[in-house]
């Protein structure tokens, strides 16, 4: 062991710090939602043991987000190096990783032994997969009294559509979030990301934390059933109450309003072109005070005295003309120049930042240390998205980048489950791990 590369020696599991230290999670999650949900537990001290299949690799291990190797999703490597995937690294830092072949009797026995040594079990397979391995709540309670068992699925564990397939964009469509996003009277622009993978993950993190807090206080475990579609519907916002309270459908001319803001009526309120290719800045003016700050900041050009722009309601009514004037001013300036000038004058404005801006330009994220770095034996040093919360007493415990496939088999199966080195070797030879 001592002959190994120093970076590998440093990857040995160690005691964890944080409010979740001492809590072991048997984590069957994969893909986006589940992996992001359990990431927060791993970040704050839980021993999250990610259980993976060698034959059915987690998609983030396969997606071609490789360092210094740009290719599209369509150009996936047919035989990918499972340890090269950047998305997996981002999702599974601070977790342990083991491989178990759940199709084998021995594999399922091993999983049960691991569950018995854990106190939280998480999964986001299609409903029925865990039950197919006899890993029901009843069975889990027999293995581990007062277990917390969290199911994270698109549609929940019950109901006529519970077996329907989904991922972020499908959840966004079904829940109504795509429909309310776009310019009026044409197809929705919806979302350019799996917003609901993130939000469902954050809701699932909170559900797990609530369950752990409750068990700490009462000794009682729980089963959790969270449906991403239901989280999505609950996030629709005040538009949903306009439908249910006022019986005002959203399938109506002029809805959704794009970047305009009707409640409250704000103008200018939009995204304006800037110097450079496809560069933009968002500006939001809510009242007369904002308006006077804006026109002062941009040097009181003649058009601002147009009587059409004299009051808030009139500015809103003539937003097209107003937007055209403002765009003429913004288009000769950089997004950050506009943002800084307007914000320093008390006007709400923000550069439309891309990932390069966030990582290399944004002084606020740099100051707050939002992103952090960890080394990885195959990928090398990489950046990670941190927790957007700063605590005065606790901090994220970053001890390691994501596990190599099966990296912690020896530690988990020997040190935790008590198997001998020979037994572990036999399981590996038999294709069980």
């Amino acid at each position: 062991m001592d002959a190994r590369h120093p970076s590998l020696v440093q990857r040995q599991p160690r005691a964890r710090r944080g409010p979740l230290s001492g809590i072991r999670v048997a984590d069957f999650c994969w893909m986006g939602v589940g992996s992001v949900a359990t990431r927060m537990l791993a970040d704050f001290g839980a021993e999250v043991i990610k259980i993976e299949s060698r034959t059915r690799l987690d998609l983030p291990r396969r997606l071609p987000l490789y360092k210094n190797d740009s290719r599209s999703f369509g150009a996936e490597d047919p035989d990918p190096d499972p340890d090269k995937g950047g998305l997996f690294n981002n999702y599974s830092r601070n977790k342990l990783g083991v491989t178990i072949n759940m199709r084998s009797v021995e594999g399922r026995e091993l999983a049960e032994r691991l569950i018995a040594q854990s106190s939280v079990v998480t999964e986001n397979f299609a409903p029925g997969v865990m039950a197919g391995w006899n890993l029901t709540y009843e069975r889990l309670r027999a293995l581990c009294p007062e277990v917390i068992y969290a199911h994270m699925s698109g549609f929940g564990q019950s109901g006529p559509h519970h077996t329907y397939r989904s991922y972020g964009p499908v959840v966004q469509a079904v829940s109504g979030l795509s429909f309310i996003s776009g310019l009026p009277d044409r197809e929705p622009s919806g979302w350019g990301l799996s917003y609901m993978d993130n939000q469902a993950a954050y809701y699932n993190s909170a559900a797990l934390l609530m369950a752990i807090m409750h068990r700490n206080a009462t000794g009682k475990g729980t089963e959790i059933d969270t449906s991403a579609v239901e989280v999505g519907v609950s996030l629709l916002g005040p538009d949903l109450l306009d439908v249910t309270v006022n019986a005002r459908p959203t399938r109506r001319p002029g809805f959704p309003p794009g970047n305009r803001l009707e409640h409250p009526q704000a103008a200018p309120h939009g995204v304006y072109p800037c110097a450079g290719e496809d560069r933009w800045v968002a500006v939001a003016v809510f009242d007369d005070t904002d308006w006077h700050r804006l026109i002062e900041a941009i040097g009181n050009p003649a058009w601002t005295t147009d009587p059409r722009f004299a009051s808030g309601s009139s500015r809103f009514a003539h937003a097209d003309a107003l937007d055209a004037h403002l765009a003429e001013w913004t288009r000769h300036r950089s997004p950050h120049e506009v943002m800084t000038l307007l914000q320093d004058n008390g006007v709400c404005a923000g550069a439309v930042q891309d990932a390069r801006d966030l990582n290399e330009v944004d002084p606020q994220l740099a100051h707050r240390g939002t992103f952090f770095e960890l080394d990885h034996p195959v990928i090398g040093p990489a950046r990670f998205e941190g927790t957007p919360v700063t605590f005065s007493r606790i901090e994220q415990d970053n001890w390691r980048s994501a596990p190599l496939l099966g990296e912690d088999n020896a530690y988990v199966f020997s040190d935790i489950l008590g198997l001998s080195t020979n037994e572990v070797a036999d399981l590996a030879a038999a294709g069980v791990i």
Binding site: S72, G86, P169, S181, A207, V233, P238, L240, A284, Q353
Partner: protein, 406 residues
Amino acid sequence: MTTAQTGTAGSPPLPYSGLTVVEWAGDPAGEGTGRLLAELGADVIKIEPPQGSPTRRIGPFAHDVVSADTSLTFWYYNFGKRSVVPDGSESDQALLHRLLVGADVLLITLRPREIAAAGLDYSALLTTHPQLIILSVTAFGLDGPWADYRTCDLVGLAAGGPLASCGYDDHSIPPIRPGGNQGYHTAASFAHCGLLLALLDRQRTGAGQLVDVSMHESLAVSGELANPYWFYPKVLVHRQTCRHAQPVPTQPALFRCADDRWVYFALILADRKPWDALVAWMESLGVAADLTDTAYDDLAHRQQNFQHIQELIECLFLLQDATTAYHEGQRRGLPIGPVNAPEDVLDDEHLQARNFFTTVAFDSDLSALVPTSPYRFSSFQTVAPTRAPWLGEHTGQVLAAEEADR
């Protein structure tokens, strides 16, 4: 948290039974955080200025009647809270200090400049209330060069990154803000998790702390693929109509149906199973054309003819309405979603079977459907929301209780 965690006999507790939160919040991020807590059993005491929270002035309004008590924006973010308006007999600070005596959490949305203007000092508060958790939810966090900058949902989404990924294929159209205050909602989700981590720490140590949540950072870590594409291959993603922003353009994923509604369907060419399911479906409706040729067994051939395949998929969906396409596609194992409007989800048989919506009485003659909390725990009762408070509705009740406690 007090011992109320155990609940009364026969009535399982809610996750936050016994938790008292004093809320001094004026935007949907802070108020939305308080809503999550109130919905799950916390006693959230909302301190409002005499004219009410700023969100009380934001429409739409119930039956279009504009008043402090009819804002649907306020209603949405303040389910289940109590509202207190200082009666002027003491300063706001004095009232706050009194309310904090029995509180677990101070939920507050002031920026640094506003904290100073309000005469507040969080460190001092934590010294005098060592078990208190101060949950600060702000635009950019409590320090840093942008800490006093302003935000709103649009500006938050812009500066935080997600907006750059959202819009249309046509890049002469600016990025388009997704609807429903999702920038604020993202901050609220992290505020909820941050508070839980602090509560867990307090369970072990007894100590409170400052939890400083930044909406900007919350959005900066929620762009999904955008950051990893920059961290690893160092490429930027570009927005596309209602589908993932990608480094290079991909095929459209919205299809118009016979009833003029849309479905979302992204065909992953490399996977054989959905391909076979799709072709069988098209065959059953007589629009498979040449896709049944064995040449399409080869991935490269499918890739070369993706445009042709897309055109045939367009035909497939034009033959049926969106609801039929949704259920038939899903029956065949394809991940298809109808682009539902909010009014459509109210009639969804699946959500109905799960009792997801419940009727809330807002007034003696006004009740309406609202979603229940999406958290389902076997150990807790199902959570049904109660309406938002009228302005100052609980002033007498809360202040009287405080008097009695003194």
